[in-house]
């Protein structure tokens, strides 16, 4: 099957107001199959939000250098004109932001905000629009609830309900790819599970291809097909979810998983013991330097890591890792 979305050597550099330059994405390449869920793991400063917006051709004003290709069904979005992009965004590929309270218009009823998305993409006629809006909302809310929610203002809804409205906007026009940037980060755990359930159902019912961005690896288990781990704007590991989550190979992925407090099985012995935190700070890694970006914090560093940057090593057909430890094992 052909890829629905293909990213080739994507590079985005920002010029911070204070001067200097910051490479947010530094040569990222991957593809997404139709109906596939790609989990993107990354911490603050890893470039994950830049990746999310880049895929829609959205760039911050101080993004000075953008290169590479983002091919959506074969069309390069980075070369597309603004008018073309406006037709594609929200219709063929859409983005769900992290903070539903900020992403929604505070003084407009939520039903109308979903309706506007449809109207912007050429759905005409009042009754058709009403019908379509209702149809989308009923995918996300109980039928008897949908009417009341559509008439509500964002502040009258709970965090979970607001997040569902954002999802409604994103899927209203039947896109083939949906990108979700930390969609559950601001929710409490029960609501978080509920929203993950919504994503699962949508994927099953609509066959959406999805890029699900998070800093919490535990959210990806049983949901993502593949996992991409981002560090300092580079792919450090990419592979089938069960492989990456169960036996991570890159030292960064490993350290990240070990930093999470153990739950249930080992609670007793590990209680109040130190967690295996990764020393140092991810921001330091974004300074331009030679060698592997994770080298300063890496527990398994070798001499070569200081001076050279590792390429991607193929562990299996689908599993790649960017680390010298695996070189020669291809």
């Amino acid at each position: 099957m052909g890829a629905i979305l293909e990213v080739r050597d994507l590079r985005v550099t920002y010029h911070p107001p204070k001067g200097g330059s910051h490479r947010a994405l530094d040569g990222v390449s991957f593809h997404l199959e139709p109906g596939e869920v790609m989990g993107v793991l990354g911490e603050s400063g890893s470039g994950k939000s830049t990746l999310a917006t880049s895929l829609l051709g959205l760039f911050h004003a101080n993004a000075v250098a953008v290169s590479g290709e983002v091919l959506l069904e074969g069309r390069n979005l980075l070369q597309a004109k603004l008018e073309e992009l406006e037709k594609i965004r929200g219709k063929c590929i859409s983005l769900i932001f992290q903070e539903p309270s900020v992403a929604l218009h505070p003084t407009m009823r939520t039903g109308r905000q979903v309706r506007q998305v449809l109207a912007a993409h050429g759905v005409k006629g009042g009754s058709t629009l009403d019908q379509r809006t209702r149809g989308v909302l009923e995918m996300l809310f109980l039928a008897e609830e949908a009417e009341r929610i559509a008439r509500s203002y964002p502040h009258q809804l709970s965090g979970g309900q607001r997040q569902r409205i954002l999802i409604a906007q994103a899927i209203a026009c039947g896109p083939s790819v949906v990108i979700a940037d930390e969609p559950t980060a601001s929710l409490d755990p029960t609501t978080q599970m509920e929203i993950l359930g919504v994503f699962r159902t949508l994927r099953k019912n609509l066959g959406l291809a999805m890029i699900f961005i998070t800093h919490n690896p535990a959210l990806l288990g049983g949901f993502a097909d593949r996992v991409l781990v981002l560090y300092a704007g580079r792919i450090v590991e990419l592979g089938p979810a069960e492989k990456v989550l169960a036996s991570p190979r890159h030292p960064y992925t490993r350290s990240l998983f070990q930093a999470i407090p153990p739950f249930l099985s080992e609670t007793h012995s590990a209680h109040k013991k130190k967690l295996a935190a990764i020393p140092g700070d991810s921001l330091a890694s974004s300074l331009p330097r030679e060698g592997c970006p994770f080298e300063p914090r890496c527990p398994e560093r070798m001499d070569v890591c200081k001076s050279q940057e590792p390429g991607l090593v193929k562990l299996s057909e689908a599993h790649v890792v960017s680390c010298f430890r695996y070189e020669g094992q291809e």
Partner: protein, 277 residues
């Protein structure tokens, strides 16, 4: 572990039947009443951590604000050592407040944006008066080192710090006046996993070295279980279950606790590093 067993059963805080009601005003008609806290009782022993977990809206943050003397409880009492702080006047509050420090989820909004780290750390001391400038600066440096920041960073402003560094700074500021109780209201929730681990380790270290008493408020049951000696589960303004972490995780009694447990995302595979070594 010896430090903990030596502890006498002296509670630093004892909360009795605490009630906080807010009246929700409506444009017309009588206002509705919200019971944010509805008869909460617990105590925290010296040098231990009590975790309060619960969903949004369960009353966790109201509890934090009442304990920090930032909200006045409707009824009930909060015994802080020998004083019932719900009965204090505003002037008496000030003396108590320095002993109870609060750390919020988002430190960006709790710092003056254009103050340097040194100014942020010395302000609490300056407000107390009678401390010389060079003494204040020396104290700030000790605090910075205590929380794992370098004294050379004293001239930076909060915007120049990462999320984890800012939370370290918030902890340093809270420690300035040597508080007897540290309240952490979702203090780790906004941080990345690996930074959460760093800050959690720092809290454990500080508790060990300073014998700090903590109230850890969170919706993250896994982290709460890791850090706390005791967990209280809140729902609709009441504590529905309380006990040691092991008990709460393995034999949860209330429905709320079971729901929270079910919602903890898990890495459903063997933990890395274990299988391979």
């Amino acid at each position: 572990m010896t430090a903990r067993s030596e502890k006498t059963a002296r509670p630093v805080v004892r909360v009795e039947n605490l009630v906080k009601r807010y009246s929700k005003k409506k444009l017309a008609g009588p206002g509705a009443e919200v019971r944010a806290l509805d008869g909460v009782s617990f105590s925290i022993l010296k040098g231990t951590t009590l975790a309060i977990v619960g969903q949004s809206g369960s009353g966790k943050s109201t509890l934090a604000l009442c304990l920090a003397c930032l909200e006045k409880a409707t009824s009930g009492s909060i015994w802080f050592e020998e004083t019932d702080i719900t009965q204090l006047t505003e002037k008496e509050y000030r003396r108590i407040r320095r002993q109870i420090q609060l750390i919020f989820q988002d430190p960006v909004n709790s710092f003056h944006a254009s103050w340097t780290m040194l100014e942020i750390l010395t302000e609490p001391l300056a407000l107390q008066g009678n401390v010389r400038r060079d003494e204040m600066r020396a104290r700030a440096h000790v605090l910075l080192e205590q929380v794992g920041l370098s004294p050379e960073m004293e001239g930076r402003i909060p915007a120049e710090l990462s999320g984890g560094q800012r939370q370290r700074l918030a902890i340093a500021r809270a420690l300035t006046l040597e508080p007897k109780l540290l309240i952490l209201d979702e203090a780790l929730s906004a941080l990345d996993c690996s930074v959460q681990a760093q800050i959690a380790n720092l809290l454990l270290e500080l508790q060990d070295s300073l014998g700090m008493t903590c109230l850890f408020i969170s919706h993250d049951l896994a982290m709460a279980a890791h850090l706390a000696d005791e967990i209280a589960v809140m729902s609709r303004g009441q504590i529905v279950e309380q006990g040691p972490p092991d008990k709460i995780l393995k034999e949860p009694e209330s429905r709320v606790t079971r729901e929270l447990l079910a919602a903890v995302p898990r890495l459903n595979f063997s933990r890395p590093g274990m299988a391979e070594s």
